[in-house]
């Protein structure tokens, strides 16, 4: 910074001082009369003052000498006016006499004989003098002219750019810095300039240029003294890029930022080095203007570095902020796993950071986006517990609810929505959450509750954003509840209030469907016809309406019209459900009219036109059935096998297995008896296997390992249908032995893996399961792989891994075949991890699922009993007892579980002090001889004498007959 201009004082303290002062005071007239001091002497005096580092004392003398020289006095040999002026300008600059320095520089520039080097230096002095007087705009063109000097070009550009930045001429500054950096050597000044350029580019919203600048600096870190500044700029750049939607750029910027402690330590080191360098510079004798400027620059650099360091030191949450920014940038570019890691780290290691609350929300979002639904649940729980009043709470719960919905976990979705409703009533998400809740309830078949939710919503928000949807959902809930009249009223009211509403076509369709449900087929057909007349051909529901029209015509017994309507529907887009319905109805009506060939032709056409459609299986089924009924099983098999052979060699076509099962089923069926003849004996399995081979292994498929494996698989299915389980397992074992996993389709891989696992060969099974996941991750059989690997992990006692596997079976693979096993597996994994409550909930889910009733229920009940027994309170013991009893009373078909349940039941009675009941239970168990092979049998025998000894004789039960 320039200091106030000092008056041109006379030199003090030298032997020439008084004399020189007298001369100066006497003025020019006196000087003409008094003999002049020889110039040589004056120059010596100047030299002496400069050597003694008293430049201020030299200034007056220099002015006098210059005046005399300009008056025409001859200068000593080797001394020129140019050199005098340059020295004077330099000396004035050193003493901060910037105005005078600039004047002298101007005089020098005007000399006709000035050399290029002196001219450049003069321009630099003038430019610097102007800049130091804050006359930045005036300095800019001076530095521009100084660029002509190859000696001073770099400095001129540097100061020109700095002046332009100070003058607010940002584009000029950027352009000048760019020229400087393009040509200048890579030194510390270059690094300073590059930092300034990044700063300017950031200020000018030139994110890409700023990014390039920072990358360049990162590649030359050793030259950067202000590391803290560089890091702060990187943060600023990241923020700017994030704001501009460039999350990849932001991430690149944030990733370069050093954490706070090492950054502070390194900056302190560099500051100390700068201080030493500054001291060295200051100790130089008689620094030139440029050297003085170097001192200024190093000093300024040190000050900037210190300021940046102080800024970092004051940012106690620097690391947490950095983590948050990194996580956010990762999240924005889809790196949700990385984001989750960073958010977790922030939450764990920065407990007092203000970013922690946001991090929790980010974590919920990251887990939801990654499809890690189990983690979403726990993250939401942790968040709401840590910040019960967080303004992000509703958003987190909304996200969690959406994630649960995506996973198909409607119960979970409802749970989150209920929690949101209780914890954060009102708020901007209350409306969408109410609708989501109503939809969830509707999906769960809780129509009355759904209606109540939308009714409450409609009452509270008559003009709400979702009022139309709420009104319509209310009608649909009534319809689903079977209140057709009420539903019709609701739909009519909706149509009246929202004549242009987005549900109008559907509402009109529902009215026609309601009429059909009332068996008012005439009205239904008329409404359908009107609908078809009113809406254009491209209306997406058109196929559905034709299907309804077909139903109505069928109701009116206009079968030919119905067939025509269904066929029209078939030509239009339909959902798979609707398509299946229409195909089945057409098949039924064709059969009723004895038009079997039409039905078969329809299915054949379907299979030909849509060879990849899952309903090709239905085609095979119907063709096989219709031809079978006609006694044309062979023809049926030929047709089905023809469809099968198209894909039999392709392991990626996982749906072929469904056809193979159909073929096996047709072949395994006992032959029909001809009238008047005895029932023929079923064909031996070997014969059927040959038949399978002749159907499947034809032409090019014969040499295909996959086709051969599929033929063996069909053999195993026949063995299974013939209840020959050892043969089935032997055949599956053959597949395992003969074929590499990558030759097998996912369905067979799963079956083989399961067989191997059941045979106690987990390592071999693992290869087959892994191939499913690696080779067929999107297959409908992918859950076989996840569940199989989960079971192996369980067997190895690896709870975490097992849980992740079972979760993946559900969350990633959709658990189409193994939902029951995956749920049971999750329960076991939670139990293994000591999370008893989570395990209990899952076992209850299994035990309570009617569709899964069977061995899984027995298993779940047993473990529910175990959990209750472990708790051991009287209440829990009673619960445990109830679970065990339910097994041996209701699930007798599963002796392994019955055996376990009996023993545990007796032990639970004993624990409760009910010795007689314990003994009775053991006796009862020991009457069931089928339980003898199980280990509990011997344990029961061993337990019995002790109980008998403790039960009073009078009350002892009758001994068991078989013990």
């Amino acid at each position: 910074m320039p200091s106030p201009r000092r008056s041109l004082g006379l030199p003090r303290g030298s032997r020439f001082t008084a004399r020189f002062a007298a001369l100066a005071l006497a003025g020019a007239a006196l000087s003409a009369q008094v003999p002049q001091i020889p110039l040589v002497n004056q120059l010596a005096e100047v030299e002496q003052q400069l050597t003694a580092r008293r430049p201020a004392d030299a200034i007056g003398l220099l002015d006098e000498i210059i005046k005399r020289a300009q008056a025409g006095e001859t200068l000593p040999s080797g001394v020129t006016l140019e050199r005098l002026l340059l020295t004077a300008a330099n000396t004035n600059f050193q003493t901060q006499q910037f105005t005078r320095a600039a004047e002298l520089a101007t005089e020098l520039e005007k000399l006709p004989s000035v050399g290029a080097s002196a001219l450049g230096e003069a321009r630099m002095i003038r430019g610097l003098s102007l800049a130091l007087q804050q006359k930045y705009a005036e300095a800019i063109p001076v530095f521009k002219t100084a660029e002509e000097s190859s000696t001073f070009r770099e400095k001129a550009r540097l100061y020109g750019a700095m002046s332009a930045a100070q003058a607010g001429q940002i584009p000029v500054a950027i352009e000048t810095y760019n020229r400087l950096l393009a040509a200048g050597p890579r030194d510390r000044d270059w690094a300073d300039a590059a930092l300034s350029l990044v700063d300017l580019n950031l200020r000018a919203d030139n994110g890409a240029d700023a990014r390039r600048g920072l990358a360049l600096l990162r590649g030359n870190l050793a030259l950067v003294d202000n590391l803290a500044g560089l890091n702060l700029l990187s943060l600023q750049l990241g923020d700017a890029l994030l704001k501009a939607g460039d999350s990849a750029g932001a991430l690149a910027a944030f990733r370069t930022v050093t954490p706070r402690d090492p950054l502070i330590a390194e900056q302190k080191k560099r500051n100390a080095a700068l201080e030493r360098a500054l001291e060295r510079l200051k100790s130089a004798q008689r620094p030139s203007a440029t050297e003085a400027d170097a001192i200024r620059r190093v000093g300024a650099r040190l000050e900037q570095a210190k300021a940046s360091l102080a800024q970092v030191e004051n940012l106690a949450t620097f690391d947490a902020t950095l983590r948050y920014r990194l996580a956010y940038a990762f999240q924005e570019r889809g790196g949700v796993w990385e984001a989750a890691l960073l958010f977790e780290d922030l939450i764990a290691n920065h407990p007092t950071s203000p970013e922690r609350e946001n991090a929790y929300f980010g974590l919920v979002r990251a887990y939801a986006d990654a499809g890690r639904f189990d983690k979403v649940r726990t993250a939401v729980e942790r968040f709401t517990q840590a910040y019960p009043q967080s303004k992000f709470g509703p958003q987190a719960l909304y996200l969690a609810a959406m994630a649960a919905g995506q996973r198909g976990d409607v119960d979970g979705q409802l749970g989150f929505l209920s929690l949101a409703k209780e914890t954060y009533p009102g708020g901007e998400l209350a409306e969408p959450m109410a609708l989501m809740r109503a939809n969830s309830l509707f999906t769960l078949g809780r129509f009355a509750e759904a209606k109540e939710v939308v009714a409450t919503y409609a009452a509270a928000h008559p003009q709400g954003k979702f009022i139309e949807e709420a009104r319509y959902l209310a009608g649909m809930a009534d319809l689903a509840e079977g209140r057709a009249t009420e539903a019709e009223k609701q739909i009519q009211a909706y149509l009246k209030d929202f004549p242009e509403g987005r549900f109008v076509p559907d509402a009109r369709y529902r009215l026609a469907a309601t009429a059909y449900a009332r068996q008012d087929y005439q009205t239904s057909a008329a409404l359908a016809e009107k609908w078809l007349a009113d809406y254009p051909p491209e209306q997406p529901q058109r196929g559905e309406i034709y299907s309804l029209q077909g139903d109505a015509y069928a109701g009116l017994n206009r079968i030919e019209d119905a067939i025509e309507a269904y066929n029209r529907a078939l030509a239009l887009p339909l959902s798979d459900d609707q398509l299946g319905y229409v195909l089945d109805e057409l098949t039924r009506h064709y059969q009723s009219l004895k038009r079997n060939d039409d039905a078969v032709a329809m299915w054949e056409q379907f299979a030909a036109e849509k060879p990849d459609h899952p309903f090709v299986i239905n085609a095979a089924y119907w063709i096989s059935r219709i031809r079978g009924r006609e006694g044309r099983s062979d023809e049926a098999l030929q047709l089905v096998s023809e469809i099968t052979r198209r894909y039999v060699a392709d392991p990626a076509r996982g749906d072929v297995e469904r056809l193979l099962i159909e073929i096996a089923s047709t072949l395994a069926r006992p032959p029909r008896a001809k009238r008047g003849e005895p029932k023929p004996a079923p064909a031996p399995e070997a014969e059927l296997f040959k038949r399978v081979d002749s159907l499947l292994l034809v032409g090019s498929t014969r040499g295909s390992a996959t086709a051969q494996a599929r033929a063996l698989f069909t053999h195993s299915e026949i063995a299974a249908l013939r209840k020959n389980e050892p043969l089935r397992d032997e055949l599956l074992g053959k597949i395992a032995a003969r074929f590499a996993p990558d030759q097998l389709p996912p369905g067979i891989l799963g079956k083989v893996g399961d067989t191997l696992l059941a045979q106690g060969q987990p390592e071999l099974a693992r290869k087959f399961y892994e191939q499913i996941i690696a080779g067929h991750p999107r297959s409908i059989f992918a859950d076989f792989g996840h569940v199989g690997l989960g079971r192996i992990a369980l067997g190895e006692g690896k709870g975490d891994e097992a849980l992740a596997r079972f979760n993946a079976a559900i969350d990633v693979a959709g658990a189409r075949f193994k939902l029951k096993e995956a749920t049971l597996g999750r329960a076991h994994a939670q139990l293994l991890l000591g999370k008893t409550e989570a395990a209990r909930e899952l076992f209850e889910q299994v035990a309570g699922n009617r569709a899964w009733r069977g061995e899984a229920t027995a298993e779940a009940l047993y473990f529910l009993g175990e959990i209750a027994l472990r708790r051991g309170t009287p209440d829990d013991l009673a619960k445990a007892q109830a679970h065990y009893q339910r097994i041996y009373l209701s699930y007798k078909r599963f002796p392994a579980w019955v055996s376990k349940a009996y023993l545990r039941s007796a032990q639970t009675f004993e624990k409760s002090g009910q010795l007689l009941e314990a003994l009775t239970t053991l006796n009862r168990m020991l009457t069931e001889e089928r339980l003898q092979p199980f280990p509990e049998w011997q344990q029961a025998i061993a337990l019995k004498p002790g109980l008998e000894a403790r039960v009073p004789a009078a009350t002892a039960p009758a001994p068991a007959t078989s013990s």
Binding site: T151, F254, T258, A327, L341, L342, I773
Partner: protein, 279 residues
């Protein structure tokens, strides 16, 4: 007589440049031991004895005597950086362990007595030797080199590398729990780069068990927490791509592989990713 006016900065700079280039020319040929008292001993004039440099001094009478300079008196080594180290580094990057070892082993032996002395090429040679050894399967040599690094007293950078090598040996031998004990120490104490390498190893261990979630979380720590260590990104991205695939998330698996191929196209991992993911 002194010049009457300040000397132009140009001259000073030129002089400095001249001096600097002269210095470079000298150092390019110098092989000297600089003692704490400032004495410079040309390497050619001394031999290495037990705990000392030994100089044969000839005397006028025709005889000679030995002058010994204890190693503890050496302040720094003024040796040019051996070019063999750069070559070895290239071999290591290309996965050519034996070739790298052939270059680096003699240097590691030569400079072992001067391991901690400033200017010694031993630290770099020792690290390269470890990297080269780890490309092979000589467990005994790896263990010995690791112990040498740990005993060098060169600080946490070197101790961490040694511990990581031992963890890798445990991992190779199927002693995962032992490897994990070592890794925990690394995560607590080591420098960021070694920590990042530790996470890669942990990812490999989990991947070998097909514990894909665990593997993913280990591999992804590298881009998440050690984003400036660019040389480890290819391994992390390939590991992550495989783990995503194992987890069943083929979309992310492919994206990770593509990021690897796009960002680090010339790496071995990128070539492997192309092959594995059919990209």
């Amino acid at each position: 007589m002194r010049p009457p006016f300040p000397r132009s900065t140009v001259h000073a700079r030129r002089l400095l440049l001249v001096l600097a280039s002269l210095g470079a020319a000298i150092s390019a040929h110098a092989q000297r031991y600089i003692l704490k008292d400032g004495t410079a001993l040309a390497a050619a004039d001394v031999t290495l004895g037990s705990g000392a440099l030994v100089q044969q001094v000839k005397i006028a009478s025709g005889g000679s005597f030995e002058r010994r300079y204890p190693l503890a008196d050496i302040a720094r080594l003024d040796f040019p950086e051996p070019e063999a180290l750069d070559e070895a580094e290239k071999f290591v990057a290309a996965g050519k362990g034996p070739e790298a070892l052939a270059l680096v082993e003699p240097l590691a032996r030569q400079f072992a007595p001067f391991a901690k002395i400033p200017g010694s090429p031993w630290p770099r040679a020792a690290l390269l030797r470890m990297q080269a050894l780890l490309l092979g399967s000589d467990a005994a040599a790896i263990t010995s080199a690791a112990r040498e690094l740990m005993q060098s007293g060169l600080g946490p950078d070197f101790t961490g590398v040694a511990k990581l090598a031992l963890a890798q040996l445990d991992a190779r031998a199927g002693r995962e729990s032992l490897a994990n004990v070592m890794l925990e120490e690394i995560f607590r104490e080591a420098t960021p780069e070694v920590q990042a390498r530790g996470w890669l190893l942990r990812g490999d261990l989990a991947a070998a068990r097909s514990a894909h979630v665990e593997a993913l979380e280990a591999y992804l720590r590298v881009p998440a927490f050690f984003g400036t260590i660019d040389e480890l990104m290819p391994a992390a991205l390939l590991g992550a791509a495989r783990a995503y695939k194992g987890y069943g998330d083929t979309g992310r698996a492919e994206r990770s592989a593509l990021e690897l191929i796009d960002t680090y196209p010339d790496t071995l991992q990128a070539a492997q990713a192309k092959k594995e993911f059919g990209l």
